[in-house]
Symmetry: C3
Subunit: 261 residues, 3 copies
């Protein structure tokens, strides 16, 4: 793993999550809920998964960050996401948006934009295709996989960051984190991570945990992506397939402390 | 593991679940469904996850117990829970309620009470904060984690049991099982269990399995909590983190028989 | 593992999934989503889980196959399933239906038939009880488990295939695949597979992946069931319980290539 932020910044961020154990309110997709919750617990954060519109105001009030992931969307969930996003935005609670599948259908792309315009996320994390589809409606992504080149994706990320005021994160072989001007990078991870469902969603969840305790969203996002890369590399060394990779990845997150960096 | 019930009672309970393989109808949260179903299979029970209001009457008719867990609640699911709870109550089928996140929002606390008043659960299982929040609306819990002291929690549990007629279970370092008068305890388990999402929900699922075949709800609940503790201790001995803990825990449940007690 | 189709056909099918990486649009139940997605990734397919009625038309347009699994059904989801099924049927995209719990409640049986009559699935896969319940409304299944004899089930499968024009797959100790006239069989697997939740749903997901790239539905279904059996046998050799079985099963799928047959 190699990243723009210093080991000291990364180390302090990891320690802060473990010390403060922020409550991360997650409205995420059915496929990844269990793994996202376990990943949050593994780094020392405290997950709560809740989407019921009626309780969003109160749930957001006790959370350190809100994560909105549109992976298995429908009309009712969009209502919960908007209610939570508005409440978090009003309180100044960091919001992280994962526009899963943007570009796969126009309904997804539109729902992502509706949430962006209404709730002003602090950080948006997606793969190259998803970020490009948000910037250019003509980009079609194939489901939830990415097939965009990193150069095109980075320029879309900068544009999206400038337009929305959000820090934009693109994950891929090299991760890019940008506020429209500056670009941080994280290199590392392992190709087998693309064979474990929801690794991107896990990254988004961890971005939420770090955003709750690190005030600079560029640093928060870079720290989360660095943690993903490191744990991914270490887990891949012992994985025989995507089943054991999923398990080892959580174990490596669990054992990642400033001391084991 | 150390518990108030005798090894003979525990052993008979474990054997009864394996022999009768009760169908446990679970209306539970998205985060834990896979693990709850696997935990039920591991102890020899037969899980069915179903929440559709229209089929609750017929599904409850073939079930040995009903588990209601309000972890990822919304209006539609409350309707399903109430329909199932009423049908089970009418038939005398044991009902186990897990008031996940009671106290985190008033909507959760209210929904739990609505279900209690309508369906009269046989057993209520929660962590200390959740049980206290049901008894005293001023107790706020932080999401789904517990931070209550056991003394305060036990006295809340006794009060809740007396008010509702349900056996109340509080899980924690020491588990308490009470009908308002008597108190059974289970000691054991391992701290790493708190880093695996949904371990409390798994406990509730197993309480359902034991309640289906053991007529005394105090014994059923104590047996389930003892099984949790034992499997937790054994699994923790081999766990490297919360990922492998989740896997080993199921394996230990799977291998827990009267012979391996 | 022993099957009617030749090793060459099986090998070509496995290679085709890995080469073409078909997008498998899955509307499946909450319990199994994570494992089904990982199983699809393990064999080289690309999963997308989506059920929102509004985006079904566009999502189906980019998919190589549609999998409909009625495991945790409700009214809203039936609408999504019908919208997707109609769109796939209009386009000639292969549709695989898993009538989970048919016979457990009349609502499930009716919902399965509604989907069959509206969308004309290419392949229907269930356990013996479910298939029998579709053919004879008097057959009651206990939740999602099968207890039917294979002879009775096979004759029901033939009848269902003739009535619907679908290839019908019954999984069990021996799997049967029939178009109403011919019968292919797959023998193998391991009894511990029945203690892992959603193995049948995983089989259905894989049938979808193979149906997307193999034009003959009898061969596609047999190849998928053979892959299940093989991976199951190999995984069982290393499993200590249903927890490790679930993990090893994915690893074995991941490592299954024409070379490792």
């Amino acid at each position: 793993m190699k990243t723009t932020i210093s080991i000291d910044v990364l180390s302090a961020a990891i320690a802060a999550v473990r010390a403060k154990s922020p409550l991360v309110h997650s409205i995420t997709n059915y496929v990844v809920m269990n793994n996202s919750a376990n990943a949050l617990l593994a780094v020392g954060a405290s997950p709560v998964m809740a989407h019921w519109k009626d309780e969003m105001e109160e749930m957001t009030a006790i959370a350190g960050a809100l994560v909105i992931n549109i992976g298995t969307l429908d009309t009712g969930w969009i209502e919960g996401m908007k209610a939570a996003g508005l409440a978090a935005s009003r309180r100044g609670t960091p919001i992280v948006l994962d526009p899963v599948g943007a570009g796969a259908t126009s309904q997804r792309t539109n729902a992502a934009w509706e949430i962006i315009n209404l709730c002003h996320p602090t950080i948006i994390r997606g793969n190259g295709s998803e970020i490009m589809a948000l910037v250019d409606a003509d980009v079609k992504s194939k489901g939830v996989d990415s097939s965009a080149s990193s150069d095109d994706a980075l320029s879309a990320a900068k544009k999206l960051a400038s337009e929305t005021g959000a820090v934009v994160v693109i994950s891929g072989e090299t991760d890019y984190i940008t506020d429209g001007t500056e670009v941080y990078t994280v290199e590392g991870g392992d190709p087998i991570m693309t064979s474990v469902t929801g690794m991107g969603c896990t990254a988004t969840a961890l971005v939420g945990a770090f955003a709750a305790v690190v005030s600079d969203p560029m640093e928060a996002a870079a720290a989360a992506m660095a943690v993903m890369s490191l744990a991914g590399e270490r887990a891949a060394a012992n994985a025989r397939g995507n089943g054991s990779m999923q398990m080892h990845f959580l174990d490596e997150l669990y054992n990642l402390t400033p001391e084991t960096l």
